[in-house]
Amino acid sequence: MTELALKGAPVDRARLLRLLQDYGVYAGVAVLLLVNIALTPHFLSTENFRTQAVQVAPVLIVALGMALAIGSEGVDLSVGSVMALSTSLLSLYLGYGPWVALIVAMLGGAVIGLANGSLIAFIGVQPIVATLALMVAGRGIALVLLPQLKDVRDPGMSSLGSGDLFGIPYLVLIAAALALAVGFTVKRTTFGRQLLAIGDSRPAAQLAGLPVRRVLIVVYVIAGVLAAIAGVLATARLQASDPTSLGTLMELSAITAVVVGGTPLSGGRIRIGGTVAGAVLIQLLTATLIKHDLPPSWTQIAQAVVIVLAVYAARERGKR
């Protein structure tokens, strides 16, 4: 009798937590939207939505790569530095045309990702440590290449940054396309399945003969390339290359978006929809606080609280 009674409670609690983890982020977005619609003047304007969406695009793109890394039971702290590197490379090679510059920037991201992945997969360095080394070195290289802020004056870049298609900014379209692509990769490709299996149970994946090393390297290369793309887009939007500050704290925002979106830090599960919602949630939170004249300090503290709560909720679930 007592046993049954005892059993009942934790199961319900676990289910509640699970619901919270799975759908909490969507509920959060909905609540923030409603609050803003009710309280914030001019919130429901196209212009406002456009601004919000354009601002969230780079964070989201970085978060997509981060979701893959976290899904493999890792993390990538170097994404912010990769953005800086990509903006430096972009402005250096813009003379050869925007496409060449874009490809060079993405290659730069791929190389950093390859270095991360090799350290992790072949040498066995913990992901935090490996990506930390490249976080330090990456920004250094970016600053060596381009020591100070430089304006980017290129018609191609400026149309990328501020142009639109049927009223939807290119930035948003690109972010959406990448989200779909990554979501498709996770759900439908061999690589995606193998990645999830590795993140969920490395020993089982190894015994099942999966190419664990190759998959891990590809994960970090993708994360690097996505961060580089985010760097290019951010540069296009700002019309300037600023390797000193571009992408600082980006790793934190990306991790927050992923974790708040219901992807557990323990790996084995990737929620791309949740990650998108997580990025939007943080953007909305910031916007709400700013629009109500609350200072940025509040945003930072709020973000810190949200991230700890999200990790805490995930922990409860992992323990069950």
Partner: protein
């Protein structure tokens, strides 16, 4: 009817691979390599530091001057204090990413508090930063959250608090240049800046604590094998909480002293400092996986980073960004070496 009981020696000693022989030879052979690798780990940073310093003094007349050395020593002092706390954290197998923000927060609180006297100027940053460190420790040890994410959140929160008390960073509190607090940063004793003396004293205390106190033994044990430490009766949770609190205290104190040195609480300081501190600790030979490390190494690591920075500045034509490239590369090399050595150890 068939052949049952095909008896064979249970532990075959014949054949080329005599297990006994293998075992006898392995530890001896390994111990030589062990010794070399241990030497490299302990003194690698020191040797590199000496080589770079010798090279620099030959290359630049300005390097080995009293002013330059004094300058380097004082600017190393603040990072060194942060690295001191970080060393304890890393030896327990954790990491503290909040120290950069706490350093800045400590500076602002110290500068603000200095109007109420030196005691407040020192105690306020210690109390606030220590409290944040304590919260970090509680979340990590009791709620069992990942250290990097907890301290990352703390980094954000501390920066937020800093902005909140400085009117979003627009307000810089100044320290009265004639106050005793300012003299803690500015004065010299026997020709050497007071912050340097304080740092040296803290390192001596830290080293004694780590090597000679029971708490220090627990720090090593928790990082070396947490489960075993718990089974041996070590207070695992308390040790973890203590090291994060200590790290917060160190960062806060370093920030306050830095404010005394600069005679103002500069709000934009400390970004990236956590990376510098971690780099210094790891370059100094402490294992990021925990369980092994030493205080003196961290000091050498800090000095190495600062000397490299100084050299890069001396070259002049080179941008200071090279410093980051070099320390990132150092970090990568050290980590690769550590992992390789660690793997060989596991194999023996």
């Amino acid at each position: 009817m068939t052949h049952t009981h095909t008896e064979r020696p249970a532990r075959a000693t014949g054949g080329g691979a005599s297990p006994g022989k293998d075992i006898d030879e392995a530890p001896l052979g390994a111990s030589r390599a062990e010794r070399l690798s241990a030497l490299a780990q302990q003194h690698g940073a020191l040797v590199t530091l000496l080589l770079v310093a010798i090279g620099a003094s030959i290359g630049f007349d300005t390097f080995l001057t009293g002013d330059n050395l004094e300058n380097m020593a004082v600017s190393s002092a603040f990072l060194a204090i942060v690295a001191l706390g970080m060393t304890f954290v890393i030896i327990t197998g954790g990491i503290d990413l909040s120290v950069g923000s706490l350093f800045a927060l400590g500076g602002v609180l110290g500068a603000w508090g200095s109007q109420y006297g030196t005691l407040v100027a020192l105690l306020l940053p210690l109390a606030v930063c220590g409290l944040i460190g304590l919260v970090n420790g509680l979340l990590i040890a009791k709620a069992r959250l990942a250290p990097f994410i907890v301290t990352l959140a703390a980094m954000l929160a501390a920066r937020g608090i800093l902005l909140a008390i400085t009117d979003e960073g627009s307000n810089t509190y100044l320290v009265d240049e004639k106050s005793f607090f300012a003299s803690l940063g500015q004065e010299k004793l026997l020709g050497i800046g007071v912050p340097v003396w304080i740092t040296v004293a803290l390192f001596v205390v830290g080293a004694v604590m780590l090597r000679r106190s029971r708490f220090g033994q627990y720090v090593y044990a928790v990082g070396g094998n947490e489960d075993a430490a718990a089974l041996m009766g070590a207070p695992v949770a308390r040790t973890k909480i203590a090291v994060y609190t200590l790290s917060g205290l160190c960062a806060g104190l370093a920030g306050a002293l830095n404010a005394a040195w600069l005679v103002s609480g500069v709000t934009i300081l400390g970004t990236g400092m956590e990376l510098e501190a971690i780099s210094a600790v790891v370059i100094g030979g402490t294992l990021l996986t925990g369980g092994f490390g030493f205080i003196s190494g961290s000091l050498v690591g800090v000095l190495l980073l600062k000397v490299i920075q100084n050299v890069i500045n001396q070259i002049g034509s080179l941008d200071s960004a090279y410093q980051q490239v070099v320390s990132g590369a150092f970090l990568a090399v050290v980590v690769i070496a550590q992992t390789w050595l660690g793997r060989r150890r596991r194999m023996m």
